[in-house]
Structures are given as structure tokens and as C-alpha cells.
């Protein structure tokens, strides 16, 4: 694993594309937000025979925490000026998610779409996204959702930070830009909060608690569908060979997906209100729920 990672890092280092210039003085804030298009899991079913996701006819949405990341980016841009670029890797229909991001107010969108990208695991997804971020070049901040509701690994953000050699702060529930180019990040931990200061450029992953994302706006509809607003990049645009992309390059594979058995039976608790409540508390304690 570490050698695979090293190979990928070396590729990025050797490329003609450049890492962010950390010494650059910031007067505007250029933000990249990674957006994953995911099936609306509320409506996804798993085929009990093949154990695969039945995606047909299931509406696609922007991964919910990516909406939070985008909202955080838009709020920062409104307060400090700058640009917000939405970046996604996916099949051609992932363009829908980017159009929605533009409708929320992103300035520009980049879609990485190529058959060569298909089947990438988290490492290769992060690698490909990192390469695109290097091509975008001008950025002070990368915002990601903490995790995708379908893949659920929460790996892609931190892996991008690894590839680009950026400081990372995860689980952000609050952001505040300080003079001199650093961010105060409030991290939501299991039962405490942590405040971290980080120098930009940096990568932050945000949770759903950071804000309430705005709705996409009808005023932006016409512009968002304009081809000039969405760049579509292929493997060739990223100057990456097939051997470093997609399924073939991915060290991990999904062996099996299955729906956990939910054959739990309900149980009636008899008695008056007091008895029922007591019996319920006892049961919950026995089950270590409370």
C-alpha cells in the first residue's frame, strides 16, 4: 500500500503541474469544493439476489455533506471575496450535480469524466481529484464533505490532503477566517469540541452540522446550463495514463454488498403506563441501549 501511494505521489511530484504556492499573499480566497453525485439512498434498494445496488430509476443528488461544504465555501466567498469551483469525478450524468452546485452559486465547475476513471477505489479517486486540483492550480482552500452516503468511507478528503501535501482538518462544524491567511476550525468530536488553527492552503472536511445549505436558485438556471461554466476533463487532460486510473489501478475491490438482515420482531409490553415504561427501561438497559 505504501509503495502504491508513493508511486502515485511521485507521479504528481514529477508532473508539469504545480502544487499550491504556500507563500502567496492572500487577498481573495479561491476555494475548491469536491462534489460527489450519489443515489438518493432513501430510495435505493439492494437486489437480494445479486447483492448489488439497484440504481435504475433512483434519483441522484449531491452528497448531502458536499452541499454543506459548498455552503461553507459560498459563505466564505461572500464574506471575503474570491471564487468557488465545484469539482466532481463521475459519469456524464454527474453534470447534473455540478449544475445544481452552480445554481447554488458556485462560479465554475469541473467534471472529470472518462471511461478510464470508472471503478476507481478511494485511493485512485483521491489521486485523480488531486491531479485535477493541481491543474486548477489557483486555490487557497479545499472543502470536502466528511463522507459520501453511498461509499461511506470518509477517506477521499484526507487522501487528497495526503497527495497534495496539505494540512487537513476533519469533522469541521464551524469555520472562521483569520487575518494573515489562517482558519479557525471547530471540530465536532464524539462528546467534545476542538478548535484548531490551520494555515492556508489547507483541506477541510465538513459535517452536516456546520450550516444549513441554501437552495439552488432559479435565477442561476440559465447560466448553470451554459457549457462555458462546466469544464469536462478526461484522462488526457490530466495527462495520466490508463494504468494509473480506474478499476485497474485500484488496490482495493468491493467483495460483497448486502443488506443486513432486519428480521427483528416487535414485542408488546403489557400493563399500565407506569409498568410499561418501567419494563421498557429495563429492556433498554439490558440491551445496553441506555
Amino acid at each position: 500500500m505504501s509503495t502504491i501511494f508513493q508511486d502515485l505521489v511521485d507521479t504528481l511530484r514529477k508532473s508539469t503541474l504545480h502544487f499550491a504556492d504556500t507563500k502567496k499573499l492572500m487577498n481573495t480566497l479561491n476555494i475548491i469544493v469536491t462534489i460527489k453525485q450519489v443515489p438518493d439512498t432513501a430510495e435505493v434498494r439492494i437486489d437480494p439476489k445479486t447483492n448489488s445496488l439497484m440504481r435504475e430509476g433512483v434519483p441522484s443528488i449531491i452528497n448531502p455533506e458536499d452541499r454543506n461544504a459548498l455552503e461553507a465555501a459560498l459563505a466564505l466567498r461572500e464574506a471575503h471575496d474570491g471564487t468557488v469551483t465545484a469539482l466532481s469525478m463521475g459519469p456524464p450524468q454527474a453534470r447534473d450535480a455540478l449544475e445544481e452546485a452552480l445554481c447554488m452559486g458556485a462560479d465554475l465547475a469541473v467534471l472529470l469524466s472518462d471511461r478510464a476513471f470508472a471503478g476507481a477505489d478511494t485511493l485512485i479517486t483521491a489521486f485523480t481529484l488531486s491531479r485535477a486540483i493541481m491543474k486548477i492550480a489557483k486555490y487557497d482552500l479545499i472543502l470536502c464533505g466528511r463522507q459520501a452516503i453511498d461509499g461511506d468511507t470518509a477517506q477521499v478528503g484526507p487522501q487528497i490532503a495526503g497527495f497534495l501535501d496539505l494540512p487537513q482538518v476533519t469533522y469541521a462544524e464551524g469555520l472562521e477566517l483569520k487575518k494573515g491567511g489562517s482558519l479557525i476550525v471547530q471540530r465536532g468530536l464524539e462528546d467534545s469540541n476542538q478548535w484548531v488553527q490551520v494555515k492556508l492552503p489547507a483541506l477541510i472536511t465538513v459535517t452536516g452540522r456546520i450550516n444549513h445549505p441554501r437552495y439552488p436558485n432559479l435565477y442561476n438556471v440559465a447560466d448553470s446550463c451554459d457549457d462555458a461554466k462546466i469544464k469536462i476533463w478526461t484522462a488526457k487532460d490530466l495527462q495520466l495514463p490508463q494504468a494509473m486510473l480506474g478499476l485497474g489501478a485500484s488496490p482495493t475491490t468491493v467483495k460483497k454488498i448486502f443488506e443486513p438482515d432486519r428480521k427483528m420482531k416487535g414485542e408488546m409490553i403489557p400493563g399500565d403506563e407506569r409498568q410499561m415504561a418501567e419494563a421498557l427501561i429495563t429492556k433498554l438497559k439490558e440491551m445496553h441501549v441506555i
Binding site: 447534473d96 449544475e99 445554481c103 437552495y215 439552488p216 436558485n217 432559479l218 438556471v221 440559465a222 446550463c225
Partner: protein, 406 residues
């Protein structure tokens, strides 16, 4: 679309290559554009999150959805088809009907408030107003800072608006407005209302003029809010004008050309109301599809009984037909073609589809369908009202007949 001539030429050119290729080139395009799909998606999400959870309560308590409307202005819902230079969203007629349908699917009352505001509250100012009027009124209306209404109906002039009695007497640099308007949507909540009044009574329909009247103008007062069967969250009121002084610059369009203007505005309004009906019908059908699979009788889900399957099949068919009529009318408008008869067909068929669908939907729900806890009960009441406003079904048939029997 291709003319016959072009099709023939196309056929002679393409046929040797294979029939399917020719068919493809010459076929109509039923695909929505990316913009239209995006507009629909935005409206659907907003409606599901901001309207659906409250619609039942708003209906029951007759609560005007001001909070939701406040959010809708900045999102572009209040000037959907008006160009951006006046702070509209600049979308086409197809997007407009898609948006109204989505709103109505979750809350028919909000849909009619938005529809009235857009199509007869703001659009006539864009279509007929002079530049000064557009600059003065449209940005506030399109951004939702102000709400628009439209007042044609009177106690003695409903289906026959030419017989209206409200008078506007010229008096120096202004007009003196006297009369009563009835059943006015957003009557007590609007900021501007387009009022139709007779400037020359003896000329009947040609003596009617449209005025932009601002709320707060002395002599303009609002009567009681009606307690209605359906569409209960929209406020429907009587408007009273007593020696209300309207500056001459507030005449919309030509003096004496008001009724033509009003009917022109109502034409596209009707397509929007058709879309509202479609939303209600879809809501009722979706509820049936869900309920009939959950509810079991005789050991089987209701959906397995053929009698009920056929009801749902009819709903689906009529809904599809209504949608095609609405799209066609909106497409004609977008392409600058006459669409009066098609607008009436769309409104007529869609509102009757909503009524049929909702009636069957209550039936499929049995006793539960009569209970306020179930959406179909509200659909049933809302659908009935839609068959009446912006021209009753009879008046739509009258217009269609006039256009057909020539």
C-alpha cells in the same frame, strides 16, 4: 419541427440509409432541456421541503404561507418568466408550468398564489406596461419584495366580465375609482393589484381599462377574507374602492383596451392553472399508488384488485394527456404562436383530470380518504375550486367551441 415539404425532402435523402434514421430526424422532441429539468428539480426540492410538511396545517387553519413566500422571492419563484433586467428569473413558459406543477403537488394554495402573482399580477406589467411602469413595479414584484394580485371579478360580473360595474372616471391627471371586486386572490396580502374598471360604460367591453393600484391608496380597502372549500391557505377577499384616486400614469396599456389585455393575461394564466391542477392530480395519484400497496383487505393489497388498478390506470392516462396539453400550450407561447384555444383546453382538461383523479383517490382510500389526515381529502377540495377560477369549465368550453366552430 419539419414541414411536410421538408419531411419529403428528408425522406428521399435519408430513406436509403434506413428508416429508423429518417424517423429520428423528423420526429418531435419530447425531451426537456437541461434548463427545464434543472428548474423542475429546484422547484420539487423546495416544495417537498418547505411546502409539503405544512400544507395540511395551512389548509386547516387558513394560514397564508408568508414564511415560504419570503424564501421564494430571492430564489426566483416570483418572476419566473420575466427577463433578468427586471429581476425576473428569465425562464421560458415550459419551465414556468413545470415549476407551478411541482409547487401544486405539495401545496395547491401556494401554487395559486405564485401563479396569480406571476401570470396576472406581474406579467401584464411586463407585457403591456411602459418602461417607466416596468422599472417602478417589476423589480419589487419579481424579487418577491412585493406581492401582486389581479381584480376582474365582481359580485355581478363573473363569467361575463364585460358587464363589470366598477367605474373609473377621468378627473384631471387622475381617475376616480369606485366599485367592489370579489373573490380576489391575495386580496389582503398584495401590495399591487391590477384592477379592471369601466372608463366608458356605454362602450361595454371596449370601455374597460386596466389600472395598477397600490395598497394603501386612500379609498382602497379590503373586506373580509372568504372561508373557502379548498385552496384555503390563499387569501381570497373582497376589495372596495371608494373615490380612490389613481394617477393617470397608472393606466396599464391603452385606455379602453383593458378587457382585451385582461383576457390576454388570463390566457397564459390559464396554462399555469392547468399546471396547478396537474400537480394536484399527481399528488392524488401518488398517494393512491402508495396507499393501495400498503392497505390490505381480503388478505391482499388493494393494488391487487383490478377494479382499483383500472382507476389508477385512468388517472395515469389522464394525467399524461393533461401534461401534453399544458406543454403544447406553453410551447406555443414560447414560440410566439397563438395559443388561446390550447390554453383553454389545457386548463379545462387538467382541472377536470384533477377532479376525476381526486374523486377516485378518495374512493380508493375508503373511509380514510374522508379524513383530514390524508392528502387526498385536501386534493378533492382543492381540485373543485380549480374547475372554477380563471374561467369555469363552461367558459373554457365556450372559448374552445368558438375557436372550433368557425
Amino acid at each position: 419541427m419539419y414541414s411536410v415539404h421538408e419531411i419529403c425532402r428528408e425522406r428521399s435523402r435519408q430513406f436509403p440509409k434506413g428508416f429508423s434514421h429518417f424517423i429520428k430526424r423528423a420526429s418531435m422532441d419530447f425531451e426537456l432541456t437541461r434548463q427545464q429539468k434543472l428548474a423542475r428539480k429546484i422547484a420539487r426540492e423546495f416544495a417537498e421541503r418547505e411546502l409539503a410538511p405544512h400544507a395540511q396545517q395551512w389548509d386547516e387553519e387558513m394560514t397564508f404561507p408568508s414564511e415560504a413566500l419570503k424564501k421564494m422571492g430571492p430564489l426566483g419563484f416570483m418572476g419566473i418568466s420575466i427577463p433578468k433586467q427586471y429581476e425576473g428569473a428569465g425562464l421560458d413558459g415550459i419551465s414556468y408550468v413545470l415549476i407551478i406543477e411541482e409547487l401544486a403537488r405539495c401545496c395547491a394554495s401556494t401554487a395559486i398564489i405564485v401563479s396569480v402573482h406571476n401570470s396576472v399580477g406581474a406579467y401584464p406589467i411586463y407585457a403591456l406596461g411602459n418602461e417607466q411602469q416596468k422599472q417602478k413595479y417589476l423589480p419589487d414584484l419579481c424579487s418577491g419584495r412585493k406581492l401582486g394580485a389581479f381584480a376582474l371579478t365582481e359580485p355581478n360580473a363573473g363569467s361575463d366580465p364585460a358587464s363589470l360595474e366598477t367605474m373609473a372616471e377621468p378627473c384631471g391627471d387622475h381617475f376616480l375609482l369606485n366599485g367592489v371586486k370579489t373573490f380576489i386572490t391575495s386580496g389582503s396580502t398584495c401590495d399591487t393589484v391590477i384592477v379592471m374598471a369601466a372608463t366608458k360604460r356605454e362602450k361595454k367591453s371596449r370601455g374597460i381599462t386596466a389600472f395598477i393600484v397600490e395598497r394603501g391608496t386612500p379609498g382602497f380597502s379590503v373586506g373580509a377574507k372568504e372561508n373557502k372549500l379548498g385552496i384555503r391557505a390563499s387569501d381570497t377577499c373582497e376589495l372596495i374602492f371608494e373615490n380612490c384616486r389613481i394617477p393617470a400614469e397608472n393606466v396599464l396599456g391603452e385606455v379602453g383596451a383593458g378587457l382585451t389585455a385582461a383576457l390576454g393575461a388570463l390566457t397564459f394564466g390559464r396554462v399555469g392553472v392547468g399546471a396547478q391542477a396537474l400537480g394536484v392530480a399527481r399528488c392524488a395519484m401518488e398517494e393512491c399508488v402508495r396507499y393501495s400497496q400498503e392497505r390490505k383487505q381480503f388478505g391482499k393489497p388493494l393494488a391487487s384488485f383490478q377494479a382499483l388498478q383500472w382507476m389508477i390506470a385512468d388517472m395515469a392516462t389522464q394525467i399524461e394527456a393533461a401534461r401534453m396539453l399544458i406543454f403544447k400550450a406553453a410551447w406555443l407561447k414560447d414560440n410566439g404562436k397563438p395559443f388561446a384555444a390550447e390554453a383553454s383546453m389545457a386548463k379545462l382538461y387538467a382541472s377536470e383530470t384533477a377532479m376525476n383523479t381526486a374523486t377516485k383517490a378518495v374512493q380508493i382510500h375508503g373511509g380514510y380518504g374522508c379524513m383530514k389526515d390524508y392528502k387526498v381529502e385536501r386534493c378533492f377540495r382543492d381540485a373543485k375550486v380549480i374547475e372554477i377560477y380563471e374561467g369555469t369549465s363552461e367558459i373554457q368550453r365556450l372559448i374552445i367551441a368558438r375557436n372550433t366552430i368557425k
